[in-house]
C-alpha cells in the first residue's frame, strides 16, 4: 500500500483520539443511511455550517477521506485539500458532485454517504484550506510599505505576480497561514522549513517541499539555490539571482541538501516589534486576487 505524507505539527495522542471518535461516529452514521446520491447538477443551497455539521463533516472526513488526503487534508496519495483553491471544484456544487460520483479513471471512488452527509463533508473540505480573516493589531498599510521598502521582501517573494521567485508566493498567504504562524516565520524563518520532502509529490517545488541545495561541480564551481526538481540522475534549482540550473548528478563532486535551512533573514533584527505587527497585518490581509 502506498504511504502517507509528512504531517504538520500536532499531538499524536490528540489526533489518534479524535480520529477514533470521529471514525466511530462516521461508521454509525454510515450504518444508518443507505446511499441517496445527489443528482449531478442538482441545485444546491449553501453548505451546512453549524458546529454539529462541522463535527459530522470532520467525522466523515476522518473515516472516508483521510486515508488518501491526509488527516488534515494536507495531502497523501490523494492531492492536498487544505488549499485555498481546489483545482477540480471551483464551486460547492462541483465539490459535492466529485464526492458523490467520484472521479472516473482516478483512485477517487464514488461516496456511499447520503446526500446530507456529503453536504457536511463538502463544507468541512471547503473550510480546510481557508482561514477566517483575523483581526490583528498592526497597520496593514504601513506593513505594505515595510514589505516593499526596508524589508526588501519582494526580492524573493511574489504578490500577484510581482517580485522575486525564490521564496513561496504570498498572494493568498492570509488564507493559508495564521498570524501566529506568520509572526514566527518572520522571527525564525527556518522554524517551518520542512525537514523532509513530501515523498510522493511529483511537484517537488511546492512550498511544502522547500529545500535549499548546494552543489560543487567536478570542474570546481560552487552553486546554491532552491530545488525545483530532482530525480535519480538530474537536479534542477534556482539560484539567488533567479537563474535556473539543471545539472547531471554524475557531473557533481558534491551535493548537499540543507534540510531545515532558510536563506531568509530573521526580521527581528531588522524591524521593531511594532513594525513586525504591521508586517503581519499586511500578510494576513493578503487573501488572493481581489
Amino acid at each position: 500500500m502506498p504511504r502517507r505524507l509528512t504531517p504538520g505539527p500536532f499531538t499524536a495522542a490528540a489526533v489518534a483520539t479524535l480520529l477514533a471518535v470521529a471514525l466511530s461516529l462516521a461508521l454509525r452514521a454510515q450504518e444508518a443511511h443507505r446511499p441517496t446520491p445527489v443528482a449531478p447538477g442538482a441545485v444546491l443551497g449553501p453548505l451546512p455550517t453549524t458546529p454539529a455539521d462541522r463535527a459530522a463533516g470532520a467525522a466523515h472526513f476522518a473515516a472516508h477521506c483521510a486515508f488518501c488526503h491526509g488527516p488534515r487534508g494536507e495531502g497523501g496519495k490523494g492531492p492536498a485539500l487544505a488549499v485555498p483553491t481546489l483545482p477540480r471544484a471551483a464551486d460547492d456544487a462541483a465539490l459535492v458532485r466529485i464526492i458523490t460520483l467520484g472521479l472516473p479513471g482516478t483512485e477517487m471512488p464514488a461516496s456511499r454517504l447520503s446526500a446530507p452527509e456529503i453536504a457536511q463533508l463538502a463544507a468541512f473540505v471547503r473550510a480546510l484550506g481557508e482561514l477566517p480573516l483575523e483581526t490583528v493589531s498592526g497597520d496593514p498599510a504601513r506593513g505594505a510599505q515595510l514589505y516593499a521598502g526596508r524589508g526588501a521582501c519582494a526580492t524573493c517573494h511574489t504578490v500577484r505576480g510581482r517580485g522575486g521567485p525564490l521564496g513561496p508566493d504570498l498572494t493568498a498567504i492570509g488564507r493559508r497561514r495564521s498570524a501566529v504562524h506568520l509572526r514566527r516565520a518572520l522571527l525564525e524563518p527556518a522554524a517551518d522549513v520542512p525537514q523532509s520532502s513530501m515523498p510522493y509529490r511529483a511537484d517537488v517545488s511546492l512550498p511544502e517541499n522547500f529545500l535549499f541545495v548546494r552543489v560543487t561541480t567536478r570542474d570546481g564551481r560552487d552553486l546554491a539555490g532552491v530545488r525545483l526538481n530532482e530525480d535519480p540522475f538530474t537536479l534542477q534549482f534556482r539560484d539567488t539571482d533567479g537563474r535556473i540550473h539543471s545539472v547531471v548528478k554524475a557531473d557533481l563532486a558534491a551535493l548537499r541538501k540543507e534540510r531545515g535551512y532558510s536563506p531568509m533573514p530573521a526580521y527581528g533584527a531588522v524591524f521593531s516589534p511594532a513594525e513586525i505587527d504591521d508586517l503581519v497585518a499586511y500578510l494576513v490581509s493578503l487573501r488572493g486576487t481581489p
Binding site: A16, E31, G105, P194
Partner: protein, 556 residues
C-alpha cells in the same frame, strides 16, 4: 525503428495496401489477423499449456505475468547488451484511452502483438510494429468500487486462444484473443464488501488461478481456480481457515477470522515438475490493531504451496506471524535450483516486504536461510526456524510507534528478477521509510476501510529506493544503485547483461547487471509503477514499460 518496415511492399501497391490496412484496422474484430493479407502473415493466436511450459526457452514472447512459471523475470534475449544499450531508442508510445491515472500493467506478448490492460477494465491488443491498437475491449466499471489503491490492473493471462482478465469489480472475464470479444464472465466476489482484484491471473494446465484484494477492507481472503473453458469454479482455498479447519485456532476464540484478510493480490509462480503452485498472502485484518485476532493468524503474511489441481495446501511458511504493520508476503516467489551447502536444492527465494530475504526448500517449505536486506527496527532477527524475533516496542499504540520499514515495506508488489548469468537477485528496496503507526479501535462495516489505525511518515524520514543486487545464495549485498525517491517499478534482467528498472520521476533505465553502473536512461515523463518486459518484433529485441498512462517501447 524503420517506419516503412510496416508497409514494406512494392511501391505501386502502396495505395491499395494503405486502404487495406485501413480496412483491417476498421474491421479488426472481423479480421483479427487482417494484416495477414498484406505485410505480415500472423497465424491465429494459440498458446496451449505446452507453450507456457516452454516460455523461458521461447523468449520472443512474454506469455505470463512474470515471463515464465518460475518467476525469474529474466530473458534469454541478448541482442541488447551492455555495449550497445546506449543506442536504445523509443520505437513508439501508446497513450491509454482514459487519460489520468497510472498503468501498472505487465503486457503479454504473443507473436508480436501486445495484450495490455488499461484502467478501468479496458483490454487492448497493440501491434508491436506500429503501436496501433488492433482491438479494444471495454467493460463498464461501477463507480463505487472501493480499493486501497485505485482501479489498477497488472495484466492478463493467456491460454489457448483466450485471454483472461480479472476486473477491479471482481469478475473474471474470458476474451477471444483474436477479437477481444467476451466469451464468458463470472463473478469472483462481491465488490460491495470491499473485495477488488488488481493482479494478473495465472493459467495453469486447464485452469485460471485468480487472487483477491481487500486486505484493508476486512475481507476473508482466498485463492480461486476456474475452468478455463467454462468459467466454472474448480476450487477455492480460504487463506483464513474456517471453524474445524487446521489453522483456525490461530485466530483466537472470537470472530476475528471472519475479517481476517490474507488477500492474494499478486500473481504467484508454478513448478510443473513438483506440480506445486506458490502464492503469497497479504496482511491480516484489521491491519494495525491485532487485539481481536490473538494468535499467529494463519495463513496471513505467508507463502503457500498448493496443489493446482485441487487447491489443497501442501505446505506453508509464515514470514510474519500476527502482523500489525501490513507485512504482506505477496512478493513474487522466485523458483530456483541452487547449490547450497554442497547440495543442489530446489528452493523458492523471496525478498519480503518485512525486510528479510528468505530461501526455503520448495519441496517441503523448510527454512534454509533468512537475512535482512533492508534496515528495520521491528524484529531483532530470525530464529532457527525462520520465525522473526519481534521487538515488542514496535507494536502500534494509540500514541504512535515509529516502525521501520513503514507501511510500504522494504519492498512491495513490484517484481524482483534473478539472472543466472550473474547469480544475483535484484530487488528494488525502499529505505528510510519509517512510519508512525497509530492503533485505534474500529468497528467493522462491510465495504468500508478497516485498518484499525493510521500511519504517517514522520519529519526527517524521506523514503528513497535503491536497486539492490544480492548474492542469491547468501543475500549479501553486491552492489546498489540509489534512486531519488521511493519507486514502485519492478526489474527485468536479460542475458545481454542488463537490469532494467524505473523511477518514480519517470526515468526508465538500464544498469550493468554485474556492477550496477547506469548505462542508459530515458525520461518517460510520469511515474513508473510497473514491471519491464522484453520480447521480439520481427526478430529484433524490444523492451517495454508502462509509465503514468502510457506504454513505451524501445529497440536498437
Amino acid at each position: 525503428m524503420n517506419p516503412f518496415r510496416f508497409t514494406a511492399v512494392p511501391r505501386p501497391l502502396a495505395r491499395p495496401v494503405r486502404l487495406r490496412l485501413w480496412l483491417a484496422v476498421a474491421f479488426a474484430p472481423l479480421l483479427a489477423s487482417g494484416l495477414a493479407a498484406t505485410a505480415r502473415a500472423a497465424a491465429p493466436l494459440d498458446v496451449p499449456y505446452a507453450r507456457l511450459l516452454r516460455a523461458a526457452a521461447t523468449p520472443g514472447d512474454w506469455l505470463t505475468y512474470s515471463g515464465s512459471y518460475d518467476g525469474l523475470r529474466h530473458s534469454a534475449l541478448a541482442q541488447i547488451t551492455a555495449a550497445n544499450v546506449k543506442d536504445l531508442r523509443a520505437a513508439w508510445v501508446y497513450q491509454a484511452r482514459e487519460a489520468g491515472g497510472k498503468l501498472e500493467c505487465t503486457p503479454l506478448v504473443v507473436d508480436g502483438i501486445l495484450y495490455v490492460t488499461e484502467r478501468p477494465n479496458i483490454v487492448t491488443a497493440i501491434d508491436g510494429r506500429s503501436g496501433r491498437a488492433l482491438w479494444t475491449y471495454r467493460r463498464p466499471l461501477p463507480s463505487d468500487v472501493q480499493g486501497c489503491c485505485g482501479p489498477v490492473n497488472r495484466g492478463l493471462a493467456v491460454l489457448g486462444d483466450t485471454l483472461y482478465l480479472a476486473t477491479y469489480d471482481c469478475h473474471l472475464v474470458a476474451l477471444d484473443a483474436a477479437t477481444g470479444r467476451e466469451r464468458w464472465d463470472v463473478v469472483v466476489a462481491d465488490y460491495k464488501t470491499g473485495h477488488s482484484i488488481t493482479g494478473a491471473p495465472l493459467a495453469v494446465k486447464d485452469k485460471i488461478v485468480v487472487g483477491i484484494s481487500g486486505g484493508e477492507y476486512g475481507i476473508r481472503g482466498f485463492l480461486d481456480a476456474y475452468d478455463a473453458a467454462t468459467g466454472a469454479r474448480a476450487w477455492r482455498f480460504w487463506t483464513v481457515p474456517g471453524p474445524g479447519e487446521p489453522g483456525h485456532e490461530t485466530w483466537g476464540d472470537g470472530d476475528g477470522w471472519r475479517t481476517g484478510g490474507a488477500p492474494t493480490w499478486v500473481t504467484g509462480t508454478f513448478d510443473p515438475q513438483l506440480n506445486l503452485l506458490y502464492w503469497g498472502t497479504g496482511n491480516p485484518g484489521p491491519d494495525i490493531d491485532g487485539d481481536n485476532r490473538p494468535g499467529d493468524n494463519l495463513y496471513s503474511c505467508s507463502l503457500l504451496a498448493l496443489d493446482p489441481d485441487t487447491g489443497k495446501l501442501r505446505w506453508h511458511f509464515q514470514h510474519t506471524p500476527h502482523d500489525v504493520h501490513d507485512r504482506a508476503s505477496n512478493q513474487i516467489p522466485v523458483l530456483l535450483d541452487l547449490e547450497l551447502g554442497g547440495r543442489l536444492r530446489q528452493v523458492v527465494v523471496q525478498a519480503n516486504r518485512n525486510g528479510f530475504y528468505y530461501i526455503l526448500d520448495r519441496v517441503t517449505g523448510e527454512f534454509l536461510l533468512g537475512t535482512p536486506f533492508a534496515p528495520m527496527n521491528w524484529a531483532k532477527g530470525l530464529d532457527a526456524k525462520g520465525r522473526p524475533i519481534v521487538d515488542p516496542a514496535a507494536t502500534p499504540t494509540a500514541a504512535g510507534t515509529l516502525v521501520l520499514p513503514g507501511m510500504g515495506g522494504a519492498t512491495n508488489w513490484f517484481s524482483p528478477t534473478y539472472s543466472p548469468q550473474t547469480g544475483l537477485f535484484y530487488v528494488q528496496t525502499t529505505l528510510n521509510n519509517g512510519d508512525i503507526f497509530y492503533k485505534m479501535k474500529q468497528r467493522y462495516v462491510p465495504g468500508a476501510p478497516y485498518l484499525g489505525g493510521d500511519f504517517r511518515n514522520p519529519l526527517g524520514q524521506e523514503p528513497e529506493s535503491v536497486v539492490k543486487a544480492l548474492d542469491v545464495r547468501t543475500g549479501a549485498l553486491r552492489w546498489e544503485f540509489p534512486l531519488n525517491t521511493a519507486s514502485m517499478a519492478g526489474l527485468l534482467s536479460t542475458a545481454g547483461g542488463l537490469v532494467f528498472g524505473g523511477s518514480r520521476e519517470g526515468w526508465f533505465f538500464a544498469l550493468d547487471a554485474r556492477t550496477g553502473a547506469p548505462l542508459w536512461r530515458f525520461s518517460c515523463g510520469g511515474s513508473i509503477m510497473a514491471n519491464p518486459i522484453t520480447f521480439l518484433v520481427d526478430g529484433r529485441q524490444h523492451v517495454a514499460i508502462c509509465a503514468a498512462s502510457a506504454i513505451f517501447l524501445f529497440a536498437l
